[in-house]
Homo-oligomer: 337 residues x 2
Amino acid sequence: MSESVSVVDVAAHAGVSLGTVSNVLNRPDRVAPATRDKVMRAIRELGFVRNEAARQLRAGRSRTIGLVVLDVGNPFFTDLAKGVETTAGKSGLSVILCNSNEDNDREQHYLSLLQEQRAFGILITPVGKVTPTMDAIRRGGTPVVLVDRGSTRRQCSVSVNDRVGGELAVAHLIGQGHKRIGFVGGPMSINQVSERRAGARAAVHAAGLPDTALTVIETPRLDVASGRDVGDRLAALPVRQRPTAVFCANDLLALGLLQDTTRRQLSVPGDLAIVGYDDIEFAAAAAVPLTSVRQPRAQLGQAAMELLLEEATDPRAHQHRQIVFEPELIVRESTAR
Amino acid sequence: MSESVSVVDVAAHAGVSLGTVSNVLNRPDRVAPATRDKVMRAIRELGFVRNEAARQLRAGRSRTIGLVVLDVGNPFFTDLAKGVETTAGKSGLSVILCNSNEDNDREQHYLSLLQEQRAFGILITPVGKVTPTMDAIRRGGTPVVLVDRGSTRRQCSVSVNDRVGGELAVAHLIGQGHKRIGFVGGPMSINQVSERRAGARAAVHAAGLPDTALTVIETPRLDVASGRDVGDRLAALPVRQRPTAVFCANDLLALGLLQDTTRRQLSVPGDLAIVGYDDIEFAAAAAVPLTSVRQPRAQLGQAAMELLLEEATDPRAHQHRQIVFEPELIVRESTAR
DNA sequence: GGATTTCAGTGAAACCTTTCACTTCTGTTG
DNA sequence: CAACAGAAGTGAAAGGTTTCACTGAAATCC
């Protein structure tokens, strides 16, 4: 049971004032060693545990930062989270990982929650547009950094150039001789998806191919199951229009599609070349090792966390910054000639 | 800026007492509709956001439950987390996902953190033994449920029968004619790993094979990189002793090993048959689709959460329970004849 | 040796919510 | 019509921490 022990109890037990106990906890150097030991012993003997809620109440903000991602099931985001967490830990902050699941309502729900908790700051990959809630939170003095998503001057963001990523992927496919290319991804309301598509378009144009060379296949989500379903839709196309290569907006889709393609006894890359995006660890271990656009996941998380700290530490002097990393194409068998 | 608005401000603005504002927030039916609207309007106009810290301080415990897992990068745990989160959400609880990273110190760190936060409850897959801290937390009145790990009568747990899982896997390999089998996994201090190995041993004995038929290869971690390193160690064994099949303690190891095996131009299952564990989504999409022992991940999370709620709701009447699920072998090409 | 600084420690106030015993008022009952 | 019940609303107290202006005592300075 140990009916919650407070600093007052510790103070009484150690024969000092409660202010001294607080000093032992927060500025041990301001307390004489003998007293410090006495207090420490009392803490141990009573099994005192600091009450974070009371602490927060006093401080006005918590020591927790919220990381809102589109899908915890996607290794891209867990790797990102690791980067964030490591950096946050160094400053004594903890991270609460929130899974919006590509759903606006859930995103909103988590934002409210974080607001009520007086989060130290928020890192978010928004499902759609930057919402009024996010603006309200920032106006309330809580730093909000956009992750994996560029932004305008008015807020901090860390992203990878998705347009370039799309271009790299599709230019590579065109270089391999493909003339009919599919773009697989969705929903288009997710910024990264539409940017990657824009990059794909740009590559098609740059190569002098007609608009029709790019077939867009929109998926409901960015997961393996959606990727699997794409097989049917490709098969339904008349052979003359059917892409000979596809660029998937992430590796999960690519792996799903690859699975379905294999099930249909089609060869990759012979019958269909596939490029993914993110270069998650499983991409290299796939049935056919996947060509993929690599993003510096952990650095992305680290950079975002650093921007957040910067803004939190000195909000007055802070200048919003936009950090953009460059993606890199990793070529593997799924697009070999 | 909006210098934090409190219930007092709302009350003043709406021309009611602060008690009424609290009633509007917590028991709207006790307040006359007209008053309710007045208060709601004030809340909106002032942009009032409940301070969760103050709320918690009053309530004595938070509305957050801690889920401590071995590796967020392992899809097994993110699927588990989804199950936990869905169930928690229905009761208005949120989940904070903590990654112990198979490290005792980090585990301890997160437990202290959760203790300071007066977590509503804790779900944990312990790195090693059940520690004094966990016992202390439970004695302090916070429910602790062991996940993916059996236990004695003295605490709640939800697990999958790892011994049976190990038996299934190895019995299957023996059934395919293999006489020299490897067990890959570690560290052995992780309970699931040693249980799976025990199951493997049992299967070897049951088949009347000698102890030496099972070669144990201990890995430092349960991740893809460790799996990749196993290839070297296998290759280093004299051919007569080298296993013709291995059972990996999880799919990450299996995928890593598969990757390395492919790199060495060895065929799976021809030169080496591989069985994994967990049946994560990527197992089916692997270079050679992986035979794996499936665990009911989401149900595991759900059941754990339900036990936790049960214990939290009525600690007096609560009887600790141990729920054990049965694993299932999913056979794919990596062990085909 | 008196004035000043430093050190160690004190305790009240503030942070914001929820609860609960209490007051007022209106409408009902015998 | 007196007595009562129920509904609506009130406001002080409690919950645990940190901060900060403050006191006493010891050490330092000229």
